[in-house]
Amino acid sequence: MLTRINVGPIHPSTHGVLRLVVTLDGDTIVDVEPHIGFLHRGVEKLAENRMYMQSESYMEKLDYAAPMAYSDLYVAAVEEAMGIHIKERAKYVRVILLEFQRIASHLLWLSAFCNDLGQMFTMFTWAMKDRDLILNLLQDVTGSRMFYVNMRLGGVSIDLPQNFEEHANKLLDYLEKRFKEYERFLEKNPVFIERTKDVGILKREDAIALGVTGPVLRASGVNFDVRKDYPYYVYEKLHFIPQVQTKGDSFARYKVRMQEMKESIKLIRDALKLMPEGDALGMPIKLISPPVKEKEVIVRRELPRGEGMIFMVTDKQRPYRLAIRAPSFINLSALRYIARGARFADLFSILGSLDPVMADVDR
């Protein structure tokens, strides 16, 4: 006899507003059907009547855990449409700020994931405090804690302050110590290991067929990272390794993100050493924008949650069509295939390790 349970839109454990209709046979899951669209506000339609640089603040509110990554994706698309070259120092500044944003986004994921597994706010308060320190550093640079809007055509809006290098190095030393402590705390904990090892296994062929991206794809054995395969900015000069695990369960996805945070620390230190002197400011925003040269533009970036892509058909002053490929949209669609045959209590371990942000899914 099958029972149907509604895990409703407002729930203390789901990552946002998501309704799951779960069909159970005893304790085993037969089918999961996500209902989405509770946060849909039509960003692609809103951008069709705004000037190019007016939609930058719309793009930031798409993924509110890592807003600078989306704003960088959009401004890069506009720069390619207008044929504008980015200054050399500005590339390094963008890379440093984006890697800090990646660490902050993964810390937010870690706190919510451990909260879902029943740790009752211990990891939550520790990881949120570390994220707060990173947000304070970004506030020193750009002036705001959460929505920065600091990318301009050809550079950034404000250059790094004088004492940024020593503050950043102090913060990175502190974060390295904390990450060692987190690993020691979590990987020897029997409850954490039992709830994440061998739970929600996704094989390599299924991962490619389902179209998942980001850490979910890399945890199943596929070596694909946009920073290595379609490199942009200065990632060819910096030396890093994309982290790949082969097992494909929740523990592998956790391990990939933990290692990615450590690689980001190395990237920031290298970029701080190689950064040249000079000017990093971009064009200020004016009413009449530079003339547009290309008709269709495609840009890819590695967002913290996966691979994001913008496809834009341009008009004179505003985009004719803006199509956004959100990584969380397609990651959430894989939940149905992964959760078949698992127990009901494992559903939140799987959903937490896929890391969807609902404003990104609904756009």
């Binding site: 946002g16 039509g42 809103l46 603040s57 707060d132």
Partner: protein
């Protein structure tokens, strides 16, 4: 003749004295009446003081402002020192509903149902531009322009997103409203 007028005057005086003595309960009776009034005043003041110092909020993070709400409950700006303990999941145990994030036409019936399930006295805080007036999504086809089109709001907090210190000040203003200092 003077005897009749004297008799009438005496009768009127007796009536006046008898009327004024109707509500007189003696010295012990007067003490108990005053005690009843005094207890009522002390009790309502105590109830108001205890209500305003233990408002339990319901977690209602819909979108980006929810991250600042999580920061408000964690260790830098501690919400628990003023009595806002333990963000609860169920509306039956809460007093305050903090709406953080934009409200679309699909979520609106759920919010209305949750508001009606809260027990009185109940209060609502609109946190962030999207809950106050629709925010940057003013011209979208799927958005309700402000939460006060569905439920009554007590305090509005403005910003995108407002800093957690602003929410702290808003909760202190709500405390004054509950405790009776701000006349409405």
């Amino acid at each position: 003749m003077s005897d009749e007028r004297f008799e009438n005057a005496k009768r009127e005086m007796e009536q006046l004295v008898a009327e004024s003595l109707k509500n007189y309960k003696g010295p012990v009776g007067a003490f108990f009446t005053n005690l009843k009034e005094a207890t009522k005043a002390i009790a309502s003041g105590t109830i108001r003081w205890s209500r305003k110092n233990s408002l339990w909020p319901m977690q209602f993070g819909l979108a980006c402002c929810a991250l600042e709400l999580m920061d408000f409950g964690s260790s830098r700006i501690d919400a628990e020192r003023k009595g806002y303990l333990l963000f609860r999941g169920t509306p039956r145990q809460c007093d305050v509903m903090i709406v953080a994030g934009w409200v679309t036409k699909s979520v609106a019936p759920e919010i209305k149902r949750l508001y009606e399930q809260m027990a009185k006295p109940r209060y609502v805080i609109a946190y962030g531009e999207c809950a106050v007036c629709g925010g940057p999504w003013w011209e979208s086809y799927n958005i309700i322009k402000g939460i006060d089109q569905i439920i009554p709001v007590d305090v509005y907090v403005v910003g995108c997103p407002p800093k957690p210190e602003n929410l702290f000040e808003a909760l202190m203003k709500l405390q004054e409203k509950v405790g009776g200092k701000i006349e409405d």
